[in-house]
């Protein structure tokens, strides 16, 4: 519902529709007012929050008072007090039937092979209004289908010219890659490149197409909608946390994901999904996925059973622990919260080490510390669509945070929000900006200092485009903004974040978002995948080794064992391959990565799409990750960790709270873990939750996360219903050492790569190659 639906400050109007009294804000669209009252008016071209088209004539109704001479389109008629409307008379039905008959005039009626068959709005309307006989006897005008990009195909005879694709591309995406050429019956949807698309390949045009005219290169002609299971889960790529609906079918390997789309629309992303959420699920289907555990025997990785592999790891880990060896543990920002929490708990309590880290892409400890005691200052992804003013500092959100960019863009378009962009580059969102301030590259922290009141910082950030005076004026403008939302990139850390939080504290109702790269970067930080921080950013008694420390220990031959879960330290975290020669390396991964190739044991893990759990997006919105299916031979990281602990001879109920308090010690024992199972049982009883019975049930650890991690005390009911719920920054981080120092490794991915998984997506690679080859062509001219 956009501005039109809100009816700010508008008086209510009372209207009568089909004899039913309806009240809605005067000036709202008749089609919206009816929809909100449960009266459906069919339409093709009308789409909420896009400009009005009035092209399809499907939504016609009779307006009797005031008496209007002919049928009116409900999508363009605004309501006024006393209006009397009829939506279901014989006259209206006849008119709609005629519209369907005309639309079907040149329609190929190839429903049995069409991708849209079974979920087609034209099909539905034809069944409802029944134009089963056509008076059109001339030959149909056929055109060959066209491929516009690696992922978008166009079949013009199926097109009903509703212009939805054109409007979503122009208005919602601000890409303007689609248009309409010619006129009348010759009208055609055309791409901007003549015979191809030069665009962001988001695929929004495909989702929004009411028929099968625009189809997806990765899905077309593969299956029918009713042959798939549809699972709405959270995208595993960037840090924004879009909900993607996976179409899954069983296959010889267990399951195959055939489609990702956003027909669900219940997510934090509303209508939006980018190329990664829509097409880049294909890494999960690759034939080179690991599906058998591997153990190095006589120097060669050899396929073995899970039993043998897990026993080998358990024995060796027990041995290293026994002999006082050094452990290293590396987690992944694409693990679920439950997996990350379990991994650090396993490292700290079972292996007895704080040597645990992950690829950090934002300074969340500093962020949480800066917002200590002010959790209301943490912004959510939904805020980006609702607040009246936004400051984007650094980064290129269009590429790195497509959902944030979409929400900001449409907030400006639909709610007239004011956008202020501060960047060293002229990023695409400049087009929506009320003001664009250009800074020299790398001076983002200077901006934060200047905003926080350090006038001397202005010299370093002034440029020919934005003078020192302009900066002072901009600071005044921002200070007086209401409910300003500030989103900053990983260019800001430590003091920079403290400064921006200080500035935000001086602006009425201001909120802040700290942008990180991966699906659960925020979550794994909250779960304490740090050598010096426990879950909830509580300081560890004694800091362990970080990535650099572990790498150095390995170089010196002092690292006894390294457990790598979903990371690739040899490839991108600065570990020299030969430095690990004297280390027992265990890798849990989907693929035989550079690190797995030199490991002693490789355990094939499930992807996020084959796992249940939760993700926390970069702005702290917690969402449910739903398992779409099983790939034979793999196991979720959660289960693998529990199995390793079990093989080490550990009672797994110390890791995963099980049962209903049968191990009550009535508080006699002492120490950090005393009575843990009991407290869990008491908590579960209080929450009305059942005791967990499986050590592989990730939800058991979510119970513990809710109970113990500050900020995660969210509504379970809301979460389970599939909604996004807010975690807060209420943590113990207030006491962080001031000069903690973060070594960040931001991915700076473009839209067509995605850090750790984009390499394995054929679609992302083909789109990127398609682009590169075009650049070469242009250069050759």
């Amino acid at each position: 519902m956009g501005t039109r639906g809100f009816g700010f400050g508008m008086a209510d109007a009372n209207i009568t529709v089909d004899g039913k009294k309806i009240t809605a804000p005067a000036g709202s669209l008749l089609i919206d007012a009816c929809k909100n009252a449960g009266i459906e008016i069919p339409s093709f071209c009308y789409y909420p929050n896009l400009s009005l088209q009035g092209a399809c004539r499907m939504c016609v109704v009779r307006v009797d008072a005031p008496k209007m001479p002919k049928l009116q389109t409900a999508c363009t008629t605004t309501i006024s007090d006393g209006m009397v409307v009829t939506t279901d008379s014989e006259e209206v039905k006849q008119s709609r039937k005629a519209v369907v008959e005309i639309l079907l005039g040149n329609h190929p009626l190839d429903c049995p092979v069409c991708d849209a068959g079974g979920q087609c709005e034209l099909q539905d309307m034809t069944f409802t209004y029944g134009a089963s006989e056509s008076r059109y006897v001339e030959p149909k005008n056929h055109k060959q289908e066209q491929q516009w990009s690696p992922v978008v195909f166009f079949d013009s005879p199926r097109c009903i010219l509703c212009y939805r694709c054109v409007r979503v591309c122009n208005e919602a995406m601000d890409v303007a890659a689609l248009g309409v050429e010619n006129r009348g019956v010759s009208s055609l949807i055309v791409p901007n490149g003549g015979d191809h698309l030069d665009c962001e390949e988001c695929g929004m045009c495909i989702d929004i197409c009411p028929v099968g005219a625009l189809t997806s290169g990765s899905y077309r002609y593969k299956t029918r909608p009713w042959e798939m299971n549809h699972v709405s889960t959270i995208c595993t790529h960037c840090g924004d946390g879009c909900k993607t609906t996976l179409g899954v079918r069983s296959s010889e390997a267990g399951m195959e994901i055939l489609r990702g789309d956003n027909r669900d629309k219940s997510g934090i992303n509303d209508d939006f999904l980018c190329i990664k959420g829509r097409y880049a699920f294909d890494f999960a289907n690759r034939e080179d996925r690991l599906r058998q555990p591997l153990v190095r025997k006589n120097g060669v990785l050899t396929a073995v059973t899970w039993e043998e592999a897990v026993t080998a790891v358990g024995d060796k880990f027990a041995e290293v622990k026994q002999s006082g060896g050094v452990f290293g543990v590396i987690g992944s920002p694409r693990s679920t919260n439950e997996e990350a929490y379990l991994l650090q708990k396993f490292a700290r309590s079972t292996l007895g080490t704080n040597n645990i880290d992950h690829q950090r892409t934002a300074d969340f400890p500093a962020f949480v510390s800066a917002l200590a005691g002010k959790p209301e200052m943490a912004g959510s992804m939904r805020d980006a669509y609702m607040v009246p003013a936004i400051l984007l500092l650094g980064g290129d959100a269009t590429d790195e945070h497509p959902l944030l960019a979409y929400q900001v863009r449409n907030n400006v378009r639909l709610h007239s929000a004011k956008l202020y962009v501060v960047n060293s580059q002229e990023i695409k969102l400049k087009r929506q900006a009320a003001e664009f301030a250009q800074i020299p590259a790398g001076t983002e922290s200077g901006v934060a200092a200047f905003l926080a009141g350090d006038d001397s910082a202005v010299a370093a950030i002034a440029t020919a485009i934005t003078s020192a005076d302009a900066w002072r004026a901009l600071r005044e403008t921002l200070r007086s903004a209401q409910n300003l939302l500030i989103a900053f990139s990983s260019d800001l850390q430590g003091d920079g974040i403290a400064n921006i939080a200080k500035f935000a504290g001086s602006v009425s109702g201001a909120k802040v978002i700290c942008l990180a790269d991966y699906a659960n970067s925020r979550g794994v930080a909250d779960m304490g995948l740090y050598p010096d921080l426990l879950p909830g950013y509580a300081s560890a008694a004694k800091a362990g080794l970080d990535l650099a420390g572990m790498s150095a220990a390995a170089q010196q031959g002092k690292l006894g064992a390294l457990l790598v879960v979903g990371a690739n330290p040899v490839y991108d975290l600065g570990f020299a391959a030969d430095s690990l020669n004297n280390t027992f390396v265990v890798v849990q991964d989907m693929f035989l990565t550079e690190t797995a190739a030199i490991a002693d044991v490789v355990l094939p893990s499930a992807s996020a799409y084959e796992t249940s759990g939760t993700f926390t997006n970069t702005s702290g919105d917690l969402q449910l990750v739903k398992k779409a299916g099983d790939l034979h031979g793999t196991k979720p990281d959660f289960e693998i960790i529990v199995r390793i602990a079990s093989a080490m001879g550990v009672d797994v109920s110390t890791l995963v709270p099980l049962g209903a308090g049968t191990t009550a010690d009535m508080g006699q024992s002492r120490g950090a873990q005393s009575g843990e199972a009991d407290r869990s049982a008491v908590y579960l009883q209080k929450q009305g939750l059942e005791a967990r019975v499986s050590p592989f049930d990730a939800a058991a650890l979510f119970d513990e996360i809710q109970r113990l991690v500050p900020g995660y005390d969210v509504s379970r009911m809301n979460l389970m219903a599939g909604n996004d719920v807010r975690t807060t920054t209420a943590g113990k981080a207030a006491a962080l050492p001031a000069s903690r120092g973060e070594s960040l490794r931001p991915a700076h991915d473009t839209l067509f790569s995605s850090g750790s998984l984009g390499r394995y997506s054929r679609v992302l690679n083909s789109v990127a190659e398609n682009r590169d080859s075009k650049l070469v062509e242009v250069a050759a001219d």
Binding site: A176, G179, N182, V190
Partner: protein, 157 residues
């Protein structure tokens, strides 16, 4: 690309007539076509830049109007009306005569680039049917001999 001073003066003045820049597009396309002879790729790119539109936007608008063309046509564009009034008075004969004499069909151009032929809808000269329009000039109450005289006149120019 460069247009004439007259074009520039008219373009600058027209911008003041509308609340948004893009509104200037339709008349400007016509003026540019009159000057260049057709709407070339250069014209499309130039107008898109000037009016802050994409070239796709310009093409979308342009392709709606049949009087705007993307390929060069003859020096004299002979537009024969075959709408109801002209057809009743012999418009079809005029069209087929022109086609025969010029050796080209609808939307065709002679090899020497002198003439183009076009069958058009009503040109608003029904009272003097059958009528044709050559570029912006009307010729009315025609029959085949008069038509020949008109064409001869242009051929001699």
């Amino acid at each position: 690309m460069r247009f004439s001073d007259a074009f520039e003066a008219r373009f600058t003045e027209m911008l003041t007539h509308y609340p948004t820049k893009r509104s200037v597009l339709v008349p400007t396309l016509l003026f540019a076509q009159d000057e260049v002879g057709y709407v070339s790729e250069d014209v499309i790119a130039e107008l898109a830049t000037r009016l802050e539109l994409t070239t796709l936007d310009v093409r979308n608008v342009m392709s709606y109007y049949s009087m705007l063309v993307t390929k060069p046509r003859g020096k004299y564009n002979v537009q024969v009306c075959t709408n109801i009034a002209c057809t009743l008075k012999g418009g079809d004969e005029l069209l087929s005569h022109c086609a025969k004499r010029l050796g080209i069909g609808h939307k065709g151009t002679t090899a020497d680039g002198q003439f183009s032929l076009e069958e058009v809808e009503c040109i608003g000269a029904c009272s003097w049917a059958p009528a044709i329009q050559v570029n912006y000039d009307f010729h009315e109450n025609l029959d085949v001999p008069k038509m020949d005289a008109v064409l001869d006149g242009y051929a001699k120019k």
